[in-house]
Subunit: 255 residues, 2 copies
């Protein structure tokens, strides 16, 4: 009967969690402001077309997160905003990217010297003949993990760098190599889901969304020397650009 019913059905997440996520979003976007009294249970029941207990479960969830504060007889109030760490500014310029990751705190969690080759799609260059080394690392910001990097590095590059790759970001090292020319840096950004490994390292739930960034460096012989699959925690991730930065102000066409 209700329009919402069909929406609820499309998600298999428990109803009270769906309701909670809508409420959380309202607080986050400022639709409900801090200190405000939110609608009464009765109003919320009607709006979401669910039972009272379900609303209460949702409120309880947000209370545990410190976002809501219910007071018997008075009402329910907004007591805080969800925390975001949108400090990560993904680069859309190669030099900015290289310099920004140079000082990253990272922890190598896995190295496979004889790894299988990465899957390359159309336009991402050719596979290196001498195979790849696989490196996995986690990047931290103030103690919290915010990204997992799965890197296939061409063996030739790995050997050239020696032990440098063990404890620092690979990209700046490669850029500094005198006899390596990078002709393309293909970046693809999508939304993915956390695998068991990623979920474990990022401390998130299995199958939760992540911002996935694939970065493939291709040398002057069209060989993919660096193939990284990076999974970012969704709350840390933001990509900011001024689309007119390079071309300058746009005066009306006035034709």
């Amino acid at each position: 009967m209700n329009k919402l019913t069909s929406i609820y059905d499309r998600s298999r997440v428990p109803l009270y969690i769906q309701v909670a996520s809508v409420m959380r979003q309202r607080i986050d976007t400022g639709h409900w402001l801090e200190g405000d009294k939110i609608s009464t249970l009765e109003e919320l029941e009607k709006e979401f077309a669910v039972a009272r207990v379900t609303i209460r479960q949702a409120i309880e969830l947000l209370r545990e997160e410190g976002l809501l504060n219910a007071q018997q007889g008075r009402g329910t109030f907004v007591s805080g905003k969800p925390k975001h760490n949108r400090w990560l500014n993904l680069a859309n310029d190669f030099d900015v990217m290289v310099s920004s990751i140079k000082d990253n705190v990272l922890k190598r969690v896995h190295i496979e010297e004889t790894a299988s080759s990465p899957e390359l799609s159309e336009g991402e260059g050719q596979l290196a003949e001498d195979g790849y080394v696989f490196l996995r690392s986690v990047q931290y910001n103030s103690g919290e993990p915010f990204s997992v990097v799965n890197l296939h590095l061409a063996r030739s590059i790995f050997d050239k760098g020696g032990k440098q790759f063990m404890h620092a970001a690979a990209l700046p090292k490669i850029v500094e190599m005198a006899d390596v020319t990078i002709s393309h840096a293909h970046q693809t950004l999508t939304i993915g889901v956390a695998s068991p490994e990623t979920a474990d390292l990022l401390k998130i739930g299995l199958g939760e969304p992540t911002a996935d960034c694939r970065l493939v460096l291709v040398d002057d012989k069209d060989v993919a020397i660096y193939v990284a699959d990076i999974h970012y925690h969704k709350n840390c991730f933001a990509l900011r650009t001024d689309l007119l930065e390079r071309s300058g102000p746009r005066r009306g066409a006035g034709k």
Copy 2:
């Protein structure tokens, strides 16, 4: 006891759906190839540390999606790949963006002539003095909705465009206006969750992830004349760039 147990606990999504999403990913990434026989129920039980019935529920889910095909006595086989509509190539260049949306099929679903002003963050310009008009539209590709655009358009611009804005994308119209200068086009990309309205229009579940793109056009007087919050269906979304496109090949520093 198990390492996975704690990961399961972090997500409130039913266990069999979590397991299914891991399996779906394995098929998608080619870890499990089409035609292959996947591990037996017994092996999967152990790997995921769940009951047999739970594995079967996950398999049933993927069977309905056409990804798996279980045969009694033989095993379970991969019968297809998840479909992606990653055809959407979000622009990182203003001209490309304008030209790419010019021919979009869209449906205006909501217009508010006297709307509240949008929330602007630091650096996104000043609010227009004459207020805003709010427009909501849905964009379709071969009948399927792939994005919802919530647009606050400065009233001055809206009045200038007349009825043009009713049935076509606003951006190209604005660019063509002779007396309008766009000095900045701030784009911010994040991962968000679907509100009831967005979920309804995109035909996804409440609280499911979306790719959120905010585009703010600022004129030469630092006024935000166009403030769009765009929610993309996560499966349609991809942002591809060559980070070296503008600066050209990078020869080793060789200092």
